[in-house]
Symmetry: C2
Subunit: 469 residues, 2 copies
Amino acid sequence: MLTYDLNECPEKQPLYEFLYERIRDDIVGGRLAPGDRLPGKRSLANHLGASTNTVMRAYDMLLAEGFLYARERRGYFVEEVNYAPKPRAKARLLPDEAPARPKAAEASIDTGGTRASLDLFPASIWGRCMREALSLPTDELMRAIPHQGLSDLRSALCDYLYRNRGIEASPNQVVVGPGTELLFDQLLVLLGKGSKFAFEDPGYRKLETIADLRGVSWERIRSDEGCLRVDELGRTGASFVRVAPANLFPQGRVMPVKRRIELFEWANAEPGRYIVEDDYDSEFRYGSKPFSPLFAEDVNDKVVYMNTFSKTLAPSLRIGYMILPPGLLERYESSIALFSSAVSSFEQYALARFIEKGHFERQVYRLRNHYRKTRNLVAAALASSDLAGILDVERCDAGTHLLVNVRTRLSNDEARTRGARAGMRLSFLEDYTDLQAPSPGVCRLVLNYAGITEGNLDDVVGALRAVFL
Amino acid sequence: MLTYDLNECPEKQPLYEFLYERIRDDIVGGRLAPGDRLPGKRSLANHLGASTNTVMRAYDMLLAEGFLYARERRGYFVEEVNYAPKPRAKARLLPDEAPARPKAAEASIDTGGTRASLDLFPASIWGRCMREALSLPTDELMRAIPHQGLSDLRSALCDYLYRNRGIEASPNQVVVGPGTELLFDQLLVLLGKGSKFAFEDPGYRKLETIADLRGVSWERIRSDEGCLRVDELGRTGASFVRVAPANLFPQGRVMPVKRRIELFEWANAEPGRYIVEDDYDSEFRYGSKPFSPLFAEDVNDKVVYMNTFSKTLAPSLRIGYMILPPGLLERYESSIALFSSAVSSFEQYALARFIEKGHFERQVYRLRNHYRKTRNLVAAALASSDLAGILDVERCDAGTHLLVNVRTRLSNDEARTRGARAGMRLSFLEDYTDLQAPSPGVCRLVLNYAGITEGNLDDVVGALRAVFL
């Protein structure tokens, strides 16, 4: 008869589990052989001084996990299993917690990338909207959300866009998603694999990686006067093009009306052509009200509109959206709409309230003023420093960066290395372009000022002096 | 000289914008011809009785948008643009707000799909954790999050998994993502396109669509005794297989130890083979403590572990995670880690607190008891109804559904239609399988009881009676 000392069972472990482990170890260790018959539950219980229930639960676990099999009216037998000798507790070395990635963002002054100003997030108002969301009846909020997103949020977005961007769209054209990267990825699925995508050069290069991962071919289109050349676009055979007409990168200009018209002509010339309009940073335009988006001008269902809250609220709040032209809705329903929304409904609801109550418009207004001031501050500090003699600041009327041309013998990489040594992360126009060669004797600095404050302005100028003087 | 009545400017519109619109309309309408020279700023200002600044801003907007060009010391000229006649305000019909999708979920009793019980979400505790998140210093919380997720959450997950699932993993092996669908998609990118995926049949079919969209080929593997046949797996040439060993679908059994060993043998036999272990619903096991996951038994870096909070917290809270074996971390760094995390850092932080403080373990305990009771309630109600004569409930020790075999002449589709008429959404085993033919004379109902309460139990039995009696 199987004999185990149940007094050895640790205080916190249930008896049946202890018994289960002992029998299992005997099977794995070969002390109980395949085909061996186990004692009946009642007799083993008597033998061990345990309750029948304890033995029954242990047997049930062994049965469920395949260590035993049962024969009706005959009892429990050990299963025929080829137990490989199992190495003891693995002493394998886990990689350190320190991330393997180079810590580019560790520079104390970060003027690269797309960062936003972190101090202006309206945490208390957002918290109030979130509390409202959490106090709602659970029914709507707890279900798996339709892929397009909560209807409250889609309605609030449509109202906002109508008031502020002249866009007339119905909430059922809106798709909410966790940021531009994933929305763009969904768009690739929607528009299909057989086609070719065109991107502006210079431009946002991560989208090209996303297209690669979907197996969608793409080509970069040369720009002149800061804007993609539509004649070159026609030559590529692309069906889709991504543009940011409200904020051409990196000059921050708007797309001239001539190009807008050419772009529509290109899209209208063949069925299946679409313009993907990224309205990123259109909220941050300092000179004048932005021109209306292509989506609002479109009369032939040729434009997909995209935007995100990563800059207007926080990059860590993963909410963006796209608006599909009615002609794409059916295709959408049969492809990507199958999946659940990837955005938490609590945050969708909180954002809907935040927009409906006007907090979002006030937040954009506040940020725009803040960035305008920062831009002027930075431009003035550069102009009055002894760097003034070697640099020109190009007019940038949008976004949160300045394009600064520095006359220097340094290459971009030399300047970048010196910047890192001075505690400053630098980006250059050439980081965003494949088609434009660097001009000899000039570093074209893309200076994101969203992280610059009155407090660190002197450090910024000091670091630039250390790099270039 | 251009003449506009600035008194017509609506009260709320800035004067410069009104002037800009008038001039733009004259250019688009052809009243100002390409090449026409515009009056100087000061003289137009005098002429209209406006400030020079107003005219300057209007000209600047027209310039920025490409309606005008400037010649140094000569002034502003109308740009040569080929304005297509623009249709007037589009009277296009927007599709109705009503979604185009069939409203399957509208049935008043929903026993299909993967729904969770909605009333047990601990909204007030969650709200407290969220408030804590919102009161944190913004710096960590506001930055773009690394793809892997907040380190607080990854650490909390590792501690929880160690205590509850015997998993030893370092936080840098954890990848947080917005639910299983997207994590699985990332895994496809990580494991690469050249290979083949294997899925259990019956199984979770959405994953196959996700693989199709990534261009990854796949095959379904036949099961016996509720578990995938590893001998068939070897035959397919697949490199990856997705299994749910803690909760084989739909029987809710665990994977027998024999199959577990075979599966490891399969994975260890060739480099590049991986087991993707979905531990979904392992928290809801009613008989005994679940067997340890494959990930914890693995000694050769062959297992990727996945789980989600959609059932243990709420399906609308989009957070899941996977744990990569150390051998995949480098590949991960160079592929999917390039992208931003798609999960809001507020919710990541709130979830980290929720787990650290033990709320999550209590919530799982509470839900498990609730579901156990519901399961017994439903099984008892079926057994004591006059349906008892035509149905058997298969033992289901995990998850939130029962497998109910109903002896009937109805086909699944006939039963489904009758169910819809009785206000009840039904799922059948055959909805999840390609390889198993329906048994004539039997409907194999997969009855998710997460939405069943004492309050609607009579309606559930009533609807089943209406369908089958």
